[in-house]
Amino acid sequence: MTELHLTDAQLEGYLRDTLDPRGEAELEAHVGACGRCAHALQSAARFELQLAEVARAAPPPAWRSAARLAPVVAVAAGVVALLLVPRSAPRPVFDDGEPWAPDAPSAVEAVSVRFDVSDLGRRTLPRYERMSPAPSSQSVALR
C-alpha cells in the first residue's frame, strides 16, 4: 500500500467505517506517510459531507410516500370494491328455490334470520339451516 496510492473505494471505506481493522491500520499508516493520499482523504471527507447534505435536501422519495399511503389506498380500494358490487346480479339458488348466500350482504341477511323476533320460541329450525350440509356443486345453478 505504501508504494501505491489509495483508491476511492479504500478512502470511502475508511470514511464510512467499513474497512476491517487491518485495512484501516494500513490506510492510516499510508496516509501518515503520503501527502497526496492525506489530501485525497480530506477531499473525500468533504465529498462525503456534501453527499450527506444532498441526501438531507432530497425530497421524500416516491417509494417511501407510496409505502406510507399503502394502508389508506388498500382500505379505499376495498370500500370502492364493495360499493361497486352489483346487488342485482344473479344469485345461485338451491333446487327448492332458496337463495344461497354467496356474498357478504347475503351472509348478513342469513344471520339476521336467526335473530329475527319471529323465530323466537319456534321449535322448528330457521329456513337457512336447511342448507346444511353443504349442497353439492351440481345442485347449485344460476337463476
Binding site: A9, E12, L15, R16, D17, T18, E28, V31, G32, A38, L41, Q42, S43, A45, R46, F47, E48, L49, Q50, L51, A52, E53, V54, A55, R56, A57, A58, P61, A62, W63, A67, A70, P71, A74, A104, A107
Partner: protein, 199 residues
C-alpha cells in the same frame, strides 16, 4: 370470511429504523446516567463521523484521531459533572471536536486568540454570493439524483440519510445483492462527484 394480511412488509425497514432510533436514544440516556458500556457503544457508532468532520475541514488524520478522542473524553467528563442534560450525537461530539481543534491550532500558532480566531475560523454566516453558489450546486446535485433510477435513489438515500446504513443493511432492505448495491452507489457517487466539481 377470512381476512388477509395487508403487505405491511413495506414498512419493515421503517420499523427497523424506528427500533434502532429507540435503541440509540436509550444508549444516550444510559450514557448520561454514566453507563460506561453505553459510552463505548456511542463512540463506536459516531467516532468516524467526528473524524470525517475534522478531515473535511483540513485537519490531518493523526490530529483528527487525537482531537476526536479528546472530544469524547470531554463529553464524558461533562456528563459526570452533570453539565450535560441532553446528548445529541454526533452533532455534539463534532462541535466539541471542532472547538478543541481550533483551540489547539490557535495555541500552536501562538497568535492572540482574537486574531487567530478571525483568521482561521470560518465566517459563521456565509455571504449572499456564497449561499447562492451553494444553493445552485445543491440544486444541480438534486437534479442529478432525480435523474437516477428509483432503485438507485433509494440505495443512495439509505446510505446517506440519517446515520446511513451499511452496504449489507441496504442490500437486505432493498432486496439487491451486496455487489449490486456497491455498484449502484459507485455510479451515483460518480455522477454526483462530476456535478459537485469535486477534485
Amino acid at each position: 370470511m377470512r381476512s388477509r394480511a395487508l403487505p405491511f412488509s413495506l414498512f419493515a425497514g421503517d420499523a427497523r429504523r424506528d427500533a434502532a432510533d429507540e435503541a440509540q436514544v436509550s444508549a444516550e440516556e444510559q450514557a448520561l446516567a454514566g453507563v460506561r458500556a453505553a459510552w463505548e457503544l456511542l463512540i463506536r457508532r459516531h467516532d468516524r463521523a467526528v473524524r470525517v468532520a475534522l478531515l473535511a475541514r483540513g485537519f490531518p488524520l493523526e490530529s483528527a484521531r487525537e482531537v476526536a478522542q479528546d472530544a469524547w473524553a470531554r463529553l464524558i467528563e461533562q456528563s459526570r459533572r452533570g453539565a450535560l442534560t441532553q446528548l445529541v450525537l454526533p452533532a455534539l461530539a463534532i462541535r466539541q471536536a471542532l472547538f478543541l481543534a481550533l483551540d489547539e491550532r490557535r495555541r500552536r500558532s501562538g497568535m492572540p486568540e482574537e486574531l487567530e480566531a478571525a483568521r482561521s475560523t470560518p465566517a459563521p454566516v456565509a455571504s449572499a454570493e456564497e449561499r447562492l453558489v451553494h444553493k445552485e450546486q445543491l440544486d444541480r446535485a438534486l437534479t442529478v439524483l432525480r435523474g437516477c433510477s428509483p432503485s438507485a435513489q433509494r440505495v443512495f438515500l439509505l446510505a446517506y440519510q440519517g446515520g446511513g446504513m451499511s452496504h449489507g443493511e441496504i442490500a437486505a432492505q432493498v432486496g439487491l445483492s451486496l455487489q449490486r448495491v456497491r455498484q449502484t452507489l459507485c455510479e451515483v457517487r460518480s455522477r454526483l462527484r462530476r456535478e459537485l466539481d469535486h477534485d
